[in-house]
Symmetry: C2
Subunit: 308 residues, 2 copies
Amino acid sequence: MRAIGVDIGGTKIALGAVDAEGNVVLRASLPTEAGLGFPHAVDRVCRAIDGILEQAGWGAGELAGIGIGCAGPVDPRLGLINNPYTLSGWDRCDIVTPLRERFSVPVHLENDADAALVGECWIGAGRGCDPVVMLTFGTGVGGAAMIGGRILRGANGEHPEMGHVAVKADGPECYCGIRGCLESLASGSAIAAAGTEGGYRDIAAVFSAAEKGELRAKRISERALDAAATAAWTLFHSFLPQRLILGGGLMERLQGPFAAAMNRRLQPATQFSHSSFAIVPAALGNDAGIVGAARICHRPSHSTKTQS
Amino acid sequence: MRAIGVDIGGTKIALGAVDAEGNVVLRASLPTEAGLGFPHAVDRVCRAIDGILEQAGWGAGELAGIGIGCAGPVDPRLGLINNPYTLSGWDRCDIVTPLRERFSVPVHLENDADAALVGECWIGAGRGCDPVVMLTFGTGVGGAAMIGGRILRGANGEHPEMGHVAVKADGPECYCGIRGCLESLASGSAIAAAGTEGGYRDIAAVFSAAEKGELRAKRISERALDAAATAAWTLFHSFLPQRLILGGGLMERLQGPFAAAMNRRLQPATQFSHSSFAIVPAALGNDAGIVGAARICHRPSHSTKTQS
């Protein structure tokens, strides 16, 4: 049950050799360089996998497969990357066929948020729980859900974008098509933009100043925390997850205040019992995508709707 | 694959003999009279089932089972009704054991909103679709989701109460613990309360006056439609359902304007393709609960978490 996990983001591709217990026994990383073209990236990923297999002393024949988590939109059923937004020019690019032909193993493609959640549910913060919802606060806000051990897919197999649930009617405009969605208020870019306007260097400066009681900074941080709390209320009334996992770069520093604001908002909720849920930090950090992508090779019902 | 479906509400218990295709071949109805005690109700339900079986000429031995949809909270895994709110005094009442002992067939208990959605997904508005979300607008607002052919259950097997997703920060207070949830703005009781305050006889009078252009009535109806539209935005970004089914008494007259307001709100959404979803009216009317409860007997993985 050894597998290779690949995590393709807008700036970096991380990959690793993952053993049957989810340990990443070897890692590699390369710049995405999406603008140099999709075949260029495929070629470098293949060589990186070669290098990892050689260093690990694993033969391709021993692999359960190669799993790929990629910044979406992706089509897991057809193995296509459709992301001209953060992967410039990668439009309907088939990543599965060239890797399958090169290594003669099953290859599975998944949305990166879904792959990270699969990892967390395997050996991380969602282990043994059902349902599990994960929110990832970074430049944007991503989300994913595991229900009955399966990734939630929407109509047409598409990935629901939970970062855009409605939160505040008079909030900032968002490219998603509504004002005041979660991402427009609580993402890294939203907090940074409000901070710049208020004269703060970066997000850390906003939250440091807020902790010292500066009113302007407190207004910015409270707007983000309030939005995150309202979104948590809504997701608990939609899914009633046993675990809500908070991940993403922003949560490395801000998981405490975000979780506290969410728990305060949920405290008076009367429509479910409070004994069986928790808001928890992601446990696997940057490895979640690699580990989850590898895990998909063990349980390929995760990777294609038609098989499940 | 014949089955008996039972739909227990606060005022009425409806039951029916349902054939293998979902046709209700015989119906019966009795007042719930919850206050007369749970054993009294069980006794009358048993006699009503006897009557239906006799009229239909079905033997209990031919039944796939008896399915019960009941106003929640219920515990489908333990077969317990826990609803002291609308079923006065019915607290941890085991409905499954007495029916099983009386008729010697499998008996399954389910939340009524979930049972209605199972019915709609079998032979109604959700047939062949995945995922499917249903909102029921009546005195309150209920919700349910079917994902991969299975009812969505929350932590501890509880039913997520989608009628209480957050919609409007400064909305009316709700017993759920937040201001401005969907139910507080768009339920029958919310519209009726605002209408009474505005001098209107009932909900129909509010919407009739709004259609004639009366400003006060328009403000009330628009507040409800706006809340429903925001909730639809949020549910589409959480679940991305292939079908959002609108049911409940309020939708008999207002399905048109509610669906139109939701579609207008979703029109600018950029995060999913618009070719594969639709907002549709419930197709089975008052039979949905009976039909869905019977269907659960065919696929009992719906009725207990431990079996699925």
